[in-house]
Amino acid sequence: MTKTQRNRFQKGQNTMLISRETKLWMYKTMLLSRRFEETIEQIYLEGKTPAFNMANGPIPGEMHLSNGQEPVAVGVCAHLNAEDIVTATHRPHHQAIAKGVDLKRMTAEIFGKQTGLSGGRGGHMHIFDTNVNFGCSGIIAQGMGPACGAALSRKMQNKPGVAVSFIGEGAVNQGAFHESLNLAALWCLPVVFVVEDNAWGISVSKQDSTAVARNDVRAAAYDMPGHFVENNDPLVIYKVAGDAIDRARSGGGPSLIEIETFRLAGHFMGDAEAYRPDGEKAFLESKDPIPAFRKILLAEGTTDVALDHLKDQVEEQVSAAIAFARESAYAPAEDALTQVFAQGEYHE
């Protein structure tokens, strides 16, 4: 591991006052996301050994895990209500969970079941939950335009709500990124763009793909505030995101936030990760944000018993969601030919 890589995660930052209740919600939600993904990871491997073939098992297809990136999701979504809009990416679980997407129906969708959010048509990269205004696209940066549009719609209808568009640091080099930032600034839209900088776009590192070291500087090109949060720190993320979201809510227009985070897993399951420098994985594991946050809560006086109780609740939620998904039936195969158009029909 090089010195710059190590430096990415060494500086700490002080935080403002955040209520104990919020902190516990953040901890519990991070834990929920992590335990959910650990469970999904295990089930994903069912039917895929000894030969790993993506097409097999109860959860086929690609699987992008977000473990390590939970602080971004909770730090941002702690400020959002159901009416606010989130657009997510190919790596959506942590954001979905923090936004309050129905966990049972999301799990069933990941299994391809009839009770899933989309009846099995979308799968893990296409999670849509209209109750909490959550949507995804598996195409890089393509959540950004729709986030602008949702923000515009709220403005035109004079309805409350802000939009948050999550993207990876690899997405900042898409045209859609620059076009969306300009549009949002030009029309003073209530939207916040959040870049999850996990340092990698599949096998290509940030420094090998991006001409600037930090993407918050790009906000200047569109005359909006830009922020950079170091060290994957949930409390700092909470504060910075809170300021940007407040600004958007009160008519101040868009902001761009880049958050230094990391993915503990491969790009997707099955990734051999040979491109990672020696020692990076172990180093990142030592920086796992969840045990680190637990330490903070303990130091502030929350008891082990209280935190373990949260953990038990999380385990129950995960088990219930998995059981729901496993026990649900598949839709009839012919259902593939429905829901193409608005009346549920398809046209040959």
């Binding site: 391809g112 195409i139 593939a336 193409v340």
Partner: protein
């Protein structure tokens, strides 16, 4: 006899070897795309190239398809021979202008003065539950637009020869490789695509279909994965005493209409297999080629076994319900 070594290669290795050999003999050839360097391509088709040629000629790009495919066009026009990868064909939406308004039209707009000798290679196909933004074929979307050759091999021998021919071609070539044929076990590969492949460089002419199984009762036309489904269907039909002829189109542009027509002349029946969406697509074009030429060649109405006009669903059973397969081809024959 030449002393060429023959090895069994996957399509992934055959493509990488073709690019490697062209890079060795022609300094103008270079590769650009996402994850084509250290990773060797998500689908293995550039494996080993970074180690041999270095970062100057094997360029990992940012996720900026408009810029780097556009850059391929500019470099090709200026005398280089870029091989550019669009990781999944489904991503064409973010960069199509560079492809169809520049790459495909500049030869024409310049009155033939500007050549665009570039290869755009891109993965196609589903069958492994990657849902509707990562599983499409979109053959016809590209083939519909004039100015670019469009090819898709069904086996490693053709893949190597067609890739070499594509790199040496002075026109832009869209080289579409099917993920299920790549020989990547994690995608559940079709074993019959891995075939004997000579080590020496050779070309397979673009625009020429191939009869991969001779027969007299029905012509089954397909490309890429469709060829393997057609061959399996032909085996099943043989058990019933039906002798099917299978045509591997290999190229959509130029389209070898003559080979299809002369096969139908012999068999009098035509089934077209296509993993791309059914409407406005390959199957309609192939059938029309025959009917326009001489509709009396057909002894019964032609049939198509194509992907229904719906986005590709994630759930395995739903996707399999939609995909063409050997049983559907056999059923189509029985319905003739």
């Amino acid at each position: 006899m030449s002393n060429t070594k023959i090895r069994r290669l996957t399509i992934a290795r055959a493509m990488a070897e073709a690019i490697q050999q062209e890079m060795q003999s022609d300094p103008r050839v270079f590769v650009m795309g996402e994850d084509i360097g250290a990773l060797g391509g998500v689908f293995g088709n550039t494996r080993g190239l970074l180690e041999e040629f270095g970062r100057e000629r094997i360029r990992d790009t940012p996720i900026s398809e408009t810029a780097f495919i556009g850059a391929g066009v500019g470099a090709a026009q200026d005398g280089m021979r870029p091989v550019v990868e669009l990781m999944f064909v489904d991503f064409f939406g973010v960069c199509f202008d560079a492809i169809y308004n520049n790459m495909a039209k500049n030869n024409y707009f310049s009155g033939g003065n500007v050549k665009v000798p570039m290869v755009l290679m891109t993965s196609t196909g589903g069958g492994y539950s990657d849902a509707g933004q990562h599983s499409q074929c979109l053959y016809a979307t590209f083939a519909h637009l004039p100015g670019m050759k469009v090819v898709s091999p069904s086996n490693a021998y053709d893949a190597k020869g067609m890739m070499i021919a594509a790199i040496r071609d002075d026109s832009p070539v869209v080289f579409m490789y099917h993920k299920g044929l790549q020989g990547m076990g994690w995608l559940g590969t079709e074993a019959a695509a891995t075939v004997d492949t000579p080590e020496q460089p050779y070309q397979v002419e673009l625009g020429k279909a191939k009869i991969v199984r001779e027969g007299s009762d029905v012509t089954i036309v397909g490309l890429a994965m469709g060829v393997h489904n057609a061959l399996k269907a032909a085996d099943k039909l043989a058990e019933e005493g039906v002798n099917a002829e299978v045509v591997d189109l290999r190229s959509l542009v130029p389209l070898d209409r003559e080979t299809v027509i002369s096969s139908v002349k012999k068999t009098g029946r035509l089934i077209v297999v296509d993993e791309d969406y059914q409407s406005y697509g390959v199957s309609g074009e192939v059938i029309t080629s025959v009917v326009e030429h001489d509709y009396s060649l057909l002894r019964s109405g032609p049939k198509r076994v194509a992907y229904p006009d719906v986005p590709i669903p994630f759930a395995r059973h739903m996707e399999q319900f939609c995909l063409p397969n050997a049983d559907k081809i056999v059923a189509a024959f029985h319905a003739m």
